[in-house]
Symmetry: C2
Subunit: 400 residues, 2 copies
Amino acid sequence: MASDHQGPLARLRRGHEELVLRLLRTHGPLSRAELGRLSGLSRTTLYDIVVALMDGGAVVATAPAPAERRRGRPVETLSLHPEAGQVIGVDFARRAVHVAAVNVAHEVIGSASEAHSAGLGWEARADLAERLVARLAGGSLRLGVLSGVGVGVVGPVDDLSAAAERTEGATHPKPSPAPTRADLPVLLRKRFGAPVLVDNNTRLAALAEATWGAAAGVRDVLYLRLSYGVGGGLVTGGTLHRGAHGLSGEFGHITAEPGGRRCSCGKDGCLETVASIGAVLEAHGGAADLAAFLAALPDDPAAVRVLESVGTRVGTVLASVYNAVGPEVTVLGGELAEAGPVLFRSVEKALRAHLMPISRARADLRSATLGEAAGALGAIALVLHESPLLTHYPAPDSLE
Amino acid sequence: MASDHQGPLARLRRGHEELVLRLLRTHGPLSRAELGRLSGLSRTTLYDIVVALMDGGAVVATAPAPAERRRGRPVETLSLHPEAGQVIGVDFARRAVHVAAVNVAHEVIGSASEAHSAGLGWEARADLAERLVARLAGGSLRLGVLSGVGVGVVGPVDDLSAAAERTEGATHPKPSPAPTRADLPVLLRKRFGAPVLVDNNTRLAALAEATWGAAAGVRDVLYLRLSYGVGGGLVTGGTLHRGAHGLSGEFGHITAEPGGRRCSCGKDGCLETVASIGAVLEAHGGAADLAAFLAALPDDPAAVRVLESVGTRVGTVLASVYNAVGPEVTVLGGELAEAGPVLFRSVEKALRAHLMPISRARADLRSATLGEAAGALGAIALVLHESPLLTHYPAPDSLE
């Protein structure tokens, strides 16, 4: 075999190796039994493949921590070698850049954030991202093994996905006098020298919660984020759902109050007009900012009333979406979700009231766990799930 | 090669053949260029594979009809040989059984229906399905090449999907004294001797419209059916979305009228309580049945008013789901959709009013085209998309 790098047996074997590497890349650490089930390979074939991948250093075996062993023989898990590749995620939020890095063994290497003024230009934002990543690289991030960059941005991304495709192989993009958001993929590819995948950052937060967060490993997830804007995302069958024109997950623009006030989107009565942080502070009238509003809970009856009203609207809208898509887990995130039980109780009450009775006992509402890193982590999950890198090992045409 | 049936080259080649067959099975007829793009195989490899598959009779080439040629050289399409396999679909509706048969070249061989009383037992319904299929088999259906049976039923299907899995390899199931709906997969497997896949028939109608109907080839489809019940289905990224517990697409149970009348599901104000055929006839008060109601349109002002009110509710609920999932095409089906423009105009008006302005110009509302055969055709599409048959050619373990 070793002398037959180009022969058909070696190529067949590489096809199996590629499958095993792809499964470990997408799922993270797996036991041999899980790997056998997912790959469809026989035990003996899988054994040979895993031995070869471990000998070559691509795959490592890890015994579980003592606390996880429970009874019986400890189950060893296999994962990609932590240094076989690293992925960074960058979330360009409205007024901050968040970055995170994960290795292909699905271990988070680190994360960093920095706030900036709302009007900062895209070149400067890309610079900031580069500095934050360099800070991580001062630790254990090695840009030499960077496999991809996932990027989250605010708003629709139709234009950006197309731009990202155009950068394939473009190492010397034409410089633009005043880069716009549409230039982001090129700006980042130039800085990091790796392929760039882009999506909406709220949708990416949904994918992050379904990968590492409150709904880790769940295949059907409904995620709603209550922040300065209101939005969300759907994970359907284990995959981030984009929708046509990249316009899925616009839960904040579902009508929550017919004939209600005008929303920034141009329509009336959107959920965002009653459930955004701005709307909550305005309805309350007293608190200077969200921190003050949350600090006063639960002893401020006016704040409690506002949250109960918001929770009712949120739960009613969530129920409509729930009846439509049938999620296994519903995750509530964003800064406003930190209001905790006062909000969750009223969301849950309205949600159950508007669900089919058969679904009521099954509804599983959880609080998001990833905080402000969710967008950047979701961008990484996007690359791990969808980048063609490593999934063609070797490339399909070299199989011939 | 011909003498090397078990050798590594032959096995590698079979892997490529399997890929080409699977693509033709899932997508139906494809040009060589489309096949090249979807398979990732080089032109020369694909050429060799296709020649071999055509020599073996598994694949046939078809020149397009003159009308489709337009300008330039006609583009030949490749498809599976029509007799390489056939799939039947059976829709067990409330008071009728519908069957259809399609070959693996995606050509509809035929369809048949028969009404029955609402209380007919499941053994008798399975018998009826067998008789209807035999009628098709008297034509060109050949049960000898039957690759699978897709089945649609009313209501949730969690129990049935599990039952279908249990029949794998069970050629002599234990006879049950009084078969229930849960025995359906076993009853059908016994009669047809082929694997059985089951899903909700309204969801299957969504898949059918996205495969052969109003939204043929569209990857993100929202389908709503207005019939004696109100329901629907979502096709997301080209795949039928099931949701956790098989409870997606319950658009009829989204609250359309807060505090409205009690629905059969046990909740109040569901869309079904205002937009089902029964609700429409009751609101109108005059027509004896749907046929009489539709016949009086558009000259019956009371009927027009009822439909406009229904259309407003339907459009408002559709908008909520649309904002959540971002479909490319929205399909309205069921007998009530035959009311035509009077209904569609008010649906469209309410839909646009409750969509984000950015989505309004993109919304594409269409009338369903498959009629009562949709459930059976969707059951066939389910088998063509999801059955493991033929997709493992050879089985993964024999590749070693």
